[in-house]
Amino acid sequence: MNLFLFLPETVLLAAIVILLCLTLAKKDYGTPVLGFFLPALGAILVLASFSSLPHSGNLFSNAYRVDPLAQGFKCLIALSFFFTAILNQNRLSIPFDREIEYGIFLLSATLGMMMMTGAVDLLALYVSMELSSYSLYLLASLRQDRRSPEAGVKYLIFGAAASGVFLWGASLVTGLSGTTSLLEISGKVPVLIWQPAFSLGLVFASFAFLFKLSGFPLHFWAPDVYESAPTPVTNFIATASKATAVAILIRFFMLTGIPGVFIAALGALAFVSMTLGNTVALVQQDVKRLLAYSSIAQAGYILTGLLAGSFAGYSSSFFYAFAYVLMNTGAFLVTSVVAKTANHDNPRLSDFDGLAERSPFLALLLLLSLLSLAGIPPLVGFTGKWILFSAAMDKGHWFLVLWGVLNSVVSLFYYLTLVKHAYLEKPVVSAPIAVSGGTRWLGLFLIIGLIALGLFPNAFITFAQQAILKGAAL
């Protein structure tokens, strides 16, 4: 068992252990932990996952698979953890005594997500999913105000119901196929598909993953949780957990294939989540809730890519997930800084007024990330959408593609409204906003990333295609 295969996870485990010991110590180490320890750890984690990219092999008697697909997503999750760690500088209303627990839950959620990307065994998948979900439920309710426990409870019960459905589906699948390892199941699928119970189990299992992706029927938790969770956590939920959802869906669909009827159902779900996400976002006043609905709409676009079920579909979803992480982090970074200056964690549209005068850097970052979310060239969002929709169009889903593009036009309306507030309105208080070191460097990295990846995406697209090829090969 070559240790390097498991490097990122070991780094996380070690960190969790260290933090647990710190909680025992009497002195309160909260601020240095969040201020210095987590970002440094994030950097190490990113380095570890990028260095372990080329490795591949099977662990824990084929329950855990390390291949470019899993490693690629691990890097993505590490990146979003690192971004969240940096965003923690502008955290609000998290009581001092809970800061270390905040760190621990963040780490355990990341560990759970990383395990999920690698898990090819239903049991391993279930355990890691529960690990990451439980830590996210707690993270969502750490804030001091009245409404965060309500969000936490909602998130938990919704998640538990979804994992219950997953379990029920998994039981049927395991029962009929006789094994919990996805690799063997994928071998048996052509035989077993004729039994309705088996495909029913498959459908229920993959239906449950929509919860993490916040796709249509299972998206209800997203707006409430995004609004009441602290902004760094919202960013983490929006980026990391959605990326993991994409990872599992790619893995699951690739190995077990999508039954014909389910493609039509997924198409309908994608259609509704796009429309719902974009239209409701038009009427939102709270920025985090607006971004929640925008992420529901983005889930719709990713579903369109996934349901193509083709090699191009999976690789473009992988690319789009990466682009999505960058775009969303940009938007949440600006929201967190604005929230910090406005000193309440739910900035409204009006809090963004005159951002261009107060800090041109933030305004530019906001403009670029929102336009990229809307799919405007030359940013990465556009290239992502282009290859995503071209995969769907190859499979003949022309209506979904047309509907997706029309939706991105509608989405441009509320993105541009936000941009208008930033660029056009006069600021209420016109003091310039100082952007601290870490956030400024992250912002710069994001701006360059959005434009560079948009214009020169060839390298990453080829990597994504390799990852999918290797992931599919048993």
Partner: protein
């Protein structure tokens, strides 16, 4: 050698215009000098050309150069020339030569006279610039060798008349008159434009030398021949102020008088008749076109003459008389002899511009256009002007030795052969012409002087620039009569009829206007029914007013509201508001209750379940 001369004639106007524009503000004073010098150069060049080809030897000379490639076998397989292009070039033949000398000479004299007329006006430079630009475009029109180039300069001439009519643009009436002139011309030019395109498409070439009636008859069926002829005639109607489109000419008198002398009596309005003569084969190819031309000409002549009889404004009388003379010329062409029409055009150009310049002298001196006031302010004391006025009016009404008599006789003969009804119309028109010319002369010459206006002293240069053009124009009109006469045959019977008309028309005028004061009282006292109609100009202006305001702008107003409410309101705003309403509706779905969320989620799952079972026929 000819090409060099042609280029000098053509470009001298343009050179003057550009030079004057580029003059710095301080040197604006020398603008008249440039204008006059270069127009003299053009006149000299055309005179030289006239001498070179005195009796038409070595003509016609043609230089043409391809301008625009219009090649499309796909659309018009039957076009004769494989890759035909639209050409630009000069054509020189007897007709052009006489016309070019006429145009350049008159424009030189008018420029000379304008030095006297416009010397107090501050924006003189702009005036002389536009005048030179006018002579450039007029020469271009005359010398062109194909229909398209004629149309090109046709529009430019329309533009300069717009600029010159609206020269004193501070005056609201001048600006409106200018716009009216341009729009009416434009309306007529549409027909001309369409005619040219039809000829180009159906016949392939626009060159005058190719437009022979036999060639046309072979290619085009008779119906299209008439259509094309009438369409091109529409353009002529616009420019030469024929019946429905004559409304702009009287209003064009808002411009300075030398302008009216040059443009609205001699050259521009004559362009139409010139085109009739130039492209006569196009019209004579079908008899119906000639009939149309004849009837429109007669209608114009009658309305022009009738309206001229009751005008008080001196320039308006001359304007209406130009309209009626143009009607006569068109009737001559309609009657089949375009040479008679053209001959009358050349003589009329000279004595009519002479008349306008004399009216310029009166207006400049007495600062009023009304003939009664001029009479009262001592019009008859200006010996020279009265003399020229008499000379012009008599040649207009056709006194034998003068120019008018010969050209009008030819026209009457041509129309007589053609058709008696129109011949009687022409006679009545010349009767009315005699009547209003004598009326004008009597009112000015015999008016009792009330408040005498002593002429303020003028410098020698001004005197020359006033009298020389008048003198030259008078002599030239006589010279043109004798020189340009196509064929002199003494028709005694025609001499008798014209003399009779002259005597009766003049006598009636003398009878009524022997004592202008009494005539004015009688006029003011009671307006006969006939006078009321004439006053309202046969309600044509009101018809235009109605068409433009009530019909045209009403449609535009309705379309504008349609655009704002239906397209902008309905298609654009409604769709976006409905999307917003859909959003608000969908937001209700998110009502905060956990169990509603779970209910919606589970129904979603169950729906998929049912869909699955329903469609699941064992095929994955």
């Amino acid at each position: 050698m000819d090409l060099a001369l042609l280029w000098t004639i053509q470009l001298s106007g343009l050179a003057a215009f550009l030079l004057i524009q580029l003059l710095p503000r301080s040197a604006k004073k020398i603008a008249p000098a440039i204008g006059i010098a270069l127009s003299f150069l053009a006149a000299a060049a055309s005179a030289k050309l006239l001498l070179d080809h005195a009796n038409g030897f070595g003509l016609p000379v043609q230089f043409s150069h391809p301008w625009l490639a219009v090649s499309d076998r796909a659309v018009w397989p039957n076009i004769p020339v494989e890759r035909y292009a639209l050409f630009v070039g000069f054509l020189l033949d007897p007709l052009n030569l006489t016309m070019i000398t006429l145009v350049t000479s008159i424009s030189f004299f008018v420029q000379l006279f304008s030095f006297y007329y416009m010397n107090e006006d501050r924006s003189r430079a702009r005036y002389f610039g536009f005048l030179s630009f006018f002579s450039f475009s007029m020469t271009g029109l005359v010398l062109s060798n194909n229909l398209l180039q004629t149309f090109l300069f046709w529009e430019l001439v329309g533009l300069t008349s717009y600029l010159l009519i609206g020269f004193w643009y501070e005056k609201e009436s001048a600006a409106t008159a200018a716009r009216k002139a341009f729009v009416v011309n434009r309306l007529a030019d549409l027909g001309f434009y369409l005619g040219i395109i039809l000829v180009l498409i159906l016949f392939g070439s626009l060159n005058f030398t190719d437009l022979k009636s036999q060639a046309l008859a072979q290619v085009l069926p008779p119906a299209t021949l008439t259509l094309v002829g009438v369409l091109v005639f529409l353009g002529v109607m616009g420019k030469s102020a024929q019946f429905p489109f004559h409304v702009w000419l009287p209003d064009a008198m808002e411009g300075p008088t030398p302008v009216s002398a040059l443009i609205h009596s001699a050259t521009m309005v004559a362009a139409g008749v010139f085109l009739l003569h130039r492209a006569f084969d196009l019209f004579s190819a079908s008899a119906t076109t000639l009939l149309v031309i004849l009837s429109v000409g007669c209608l114009t002549a009658l309305t022009g003459a009738a309206l001229a009889t009751i005008q008080r404004d001196m320039k308006r009388i001359l304007a209406y008389s130009t309209v009626s003379q143009l009607g006569l010329m068109t009737m001559a062409v309609g009657a089949g002899s375009s040479t008679a029409g053209f001959f009358h055009l050349s003589t009329h150009a000279y004595f009519k511009s002479l008349l306008f310049l004399t009216s310029g002298v009166f207006i400049h001196r007495f600062h009023t256009n009304d003939i009664w006031e001029i009479g009262q302010k001592g019009g008859k004391n200006d010996r020279l002007a009265i003399g020229f006025l008499a000379f012009g009016l008599l040649s207009l009404s056709g006194l034998p030795p003068l120019a008018g008599f010969f050209s009008k006789d030819l026209i009457l003969e041509a129309i007589k052969e053609k058709n008696l009804f129109f011949y009687s119309g022409a006679l009545f028109v010349s009767f009315l012409t005699a009547y209003y010319s004598f009326r004008m002369f009597l009112v000015i010459a015999r008016g009792r002087i009330r408040r005498e206006e002593r002429p303020h002293a003028e410098s020698r240069a001004l005197k020359i620039s006033r009298n020389v053009p008048l003198l030259c124009l008078a002599t030239l009109s006589l010279v043109a009569a004798f020189l340009g006469m196509p064929s002199f045959h003494f028709n005694f019977e025609m001499l008798l009829t014209t003399a009779a008309i002259l005597v009766s028309g003049g006598g009636l005028a003398i009878l009524r206007f022997r004592d202008p004061e009494a005539a004015e009282q009688k006029l003011l006292a009671g307006k006969t029914f006939m006078q009321k109609i004439l006053e309202r100009k046969f309600f044509i202006d009101d018809a235009y007013e109605f068409l433009v305001k009530k019909v045209g702008l009403a449609i535009a107003h309705a379309l504008n509201r349609f655009d704002r409410t239906v397209i902008n309101g309905l298609m654009v705003n409604e769709t976006s508001f409905s999307v917003m309403r859909l959003g608000r509706l969908a937001a209700l779905l998110q009502n905060g209750a956990l169990q509603d969320y779970l209910a919606w989620a589970m129904t979603g799952g169950v729906l998929i379940l049912f869909a699955f079972l329903h469609f699941y026929r064992g095929t994955p």
